[in-house]
Symmetry: C3
Subunit: 341 residues, 3 copies
Amino acid sequence: MKLSDLAAATFSTIENGSPDLEINAAAGLDLAMEGEVTFLANPRYTPRLAATRASAVFLGETAEAGRTDLAVLRTRDPYVAYTLALRAFHPEPALEPFRHPSAIVDETAEVDEKTELHANVVIGRNARIAAGVRIYPNAVIYDNVSIGENSIIHSGVAVREGCEIGSNCIIHNNSTIGSDGFGYSKDVEKHWLKIPQTGRVVLEDDVEIGANTAIDRASVGETLVKRGAKIDNLVQIGHSCTVDEDALICSQTGLAGSSVIGKRVILAGQVGIAGHLTVGDDAVLTAKSATSHDVEPGKVISGIPGFDNKEWLRSTAVYRKLGEIAKRLRDLEKRAAERPD
Amino acid sequence: MKLSDLAAATFSTIENGSPDLEINAAAGLDLAMEGEVTFLANPRYTPRLAATRASAVFLGETAEAGRTDLAVLRTRDPYVAYTLALRAFHPEPALEPFRHPSAIVDETAEVDEKTELHANVVIGRNARIAAGVRIYPNAVIYDNVSIGENSIIHSGVAVREGCEIGSNCIIHNNSTIGSDGFGYSKDVEKHWLKIPQTGRVVLEDDVEIGANTAIDRASVGETLVKRGAKIDNLVQIGHSCTVDEDALICSQTGLAGSSVIGKRVILAGQVGIAGHLTVGDDAVLTAKSATSHDVEPGKVISGIPGFDNKEWLRSTAVYRKLGEIAKRLRDLEKRAAERPD
Amino acid sequence: MKLSDLAAATFSTIENGSPDLEINAAAGLDLAMEGEVTFLANPRYTPRLAATRASAVFLGETAEAGRTDLAVLRTRDPYVAYTLALRAFHPEPALEPFRHPSAIVDETAEVDEKTELHANVVIGRNARIAAGVRIYPNAVIYDNVSIGENSIIHSGVAVREGCEIGSNCIIHNNSTIGSDGFGYSKDVEKHWLKIPQTGRVVLEDDVEIGANTAIDRASVGETLVKRGAKIDNLVQIGHSCTVDEDALICSQTGLAGSSVIGKRVILAGQVGIAGHLTVGDDAVLTAKSATSHDVEPGKVISGIPGFDNKEWLRSTAVYRKLGEIAKRLRDLEKRAAERPD
């Protein structure tokens, strides 16, 4: 790819270097080789620019290359430009429409011809599969499911009855979309009585779901993952939750039922969210924390149960010395007791 | 469904309203519409009865409707009656016995004719599948497995060699029943030497297992999940554990090996149970807690490691202020130091 | 098996008993029956030797049987000898090479004839499957994967494009090897922009992976699990991590991206490891702990965030009394305030 094409693909402008310079890959500062483009996002790494073997670099609005032999692509956000470059060098392979003879498609299903249906895929009654969709081997699409354009369903995925997958979604292997929510009432003999889970799951467009994740159908209505939300591996989304746009939910995090995760919220790894609560837009829960109450928009929360991250950092520092604190308290008490009032 | 039929199906008695009133759905107080039945379980919501659009309501033994235009079904437990109503309005679809031509059943397996074997199901040697069983696409039943009447196995489930599934069980998608326990000894070169896992898993009747859950076979003997226990998504049950009747294990909880979970125990989300211990009947571990010791029957435990829930609540309140506590202690020490004894 | 053969199989020497004594099973001290071998690893259980019904026992270098009617196999590590005995009594079933007619193997794949390819297995382009490999039903091997000799892939497993599995590996059901890492940059509209995940996963020889575990491919290069590492069920290994030789990672533990887990490290259940850090050789993180910093070799770490296990034990003891500590501090403050300086 010529530097000029790379600039166009990454919304950058050439500040230094020939537009015809050939660039064939993108890599980090230390790994990039001749003929490759790198990036500087963190000013801390500026000294490494002197040593990089890269032929070009994405720089933010104020950074300086300090070298004239390095092509400079000026851009608003070097990391985004780098991501766009990686995407340009590693495009999704083109769709190769086919239906493997072993794929089993119910006669009532509507499957666009421009799709890849790999070996042993099973598609149920009245399912609708749009153009550009790829369904990898042994994935199972239950009855009445719809899948929007260009979505990718990997092997072993189950999309349960009636669920809806938007366009440009990716669901990685062995994830389950739409299994029953975990709902029971206790009868007079203290046995659990299953509450029918009659709702479904809706994933809007541009949602990515990792591997081995489970998203439960709503008891009534919809469990909803909105446009652009990204969910990692081994995540639990309980029945009737809503995950709002551009939320990011890291691995092994779990949401109990009926909670609402706001726009652009980040839930780090192994977080726990209790039921029937709201995490406000742009809030962050750090790894392994949990909340059983609403979280205000924009707050950063840590701990079990979670509270303000800065206060939590203070508390954790003291916690390490808690044995000593207890001893100091005993010493003070002893002194106080030894002295008359 | 007529009100009189609904009353019969829910073990309720009509206190107000025509037995011929048509009821066609069940929903919560705020969502129920005309022609639907709702319920009042928590007295706190009594004022909402005035505004509900429902045509009928399940009330407990002492509650009052406060309206004469609302049919009243008197019942011992309104939530159970509501659950029974939902079940009456949403019955499991009737079995449609068939064996999809792509299903691969070993010739030594005994499969009742009144079963649903969906596409690409694989059933191994000497497996026994009872009447009423439904096995969804791409599920794999290894050799020597038995599955009892009316159980449902969803797509992607693996039931490993020799395991036994009772009657009326449900196993949701991509769960694994009977993978090897995690057992090794360390040889002289400090390499791990695999200990054969020669046992199996037994699920008794009425057990439900969520999606993407893993239950390990015993090293010797049985990993046992007893009648009526309910296990959520992404749960780990280690080798040789026993989960007793009507226990409820929420998502992402993990049991190490050889522990015993008592009757009606509730393990909330993301709980951790160490190996070789007993959680007594009716005990509760709240979300994200853990125990490495036995838990007495009926106790409510929180924290890592877990202790009495009420004391834990006090401790968490102080923990939030731990930075300030440390400062106050320093201040007292300073005052004490400044003053002669 | 004769006692003499058992001794040879377990690197033990007969100290007491006839070399021709028939031994047909191995079991624990309390469970072993006549004709079986047991072991004594922990001196605490020595008194039970008097009551065991076993016919033979593995003893360490200094232990005494205290009985003459019990055959004694002297060995360096009785638990290892017992494991070897179990392995001798429960050998892996012999390979039965076959390719089920429903297995779908791309014509460009190289599959050794001495393999078991079970029903509905799917093998992609240019895959290489070595002799002795068993692939159970409905497993999916994507394009360009290689699997080394004698490895076992259970049903529902996905091995994604380009990944490499060594020899003598076992991957249990429904695990995912090589799904995309969780990498995004945030564009100017605050939408997540997917970073191509162009690397792969390499499992070296003798690696065992539990059920429903997810190991992400590297963003660039390799996610690497080295020789002899053992990984339990429901574990998350993030992109570009390295798990070194003989590490042991228990159930529901998660590693964020680019971390390095040293040789023989033990991560107990539900541990969390943040990104871009190193856990030194032989370190241990106890259950439910987490670290966001490097851990020194050989350290035992607990807590969230983790610190020295012994100090943590002290802190947890005080934590249980934190409500009382706060009250005692208030009392001291009150006394101090009531008294003139």
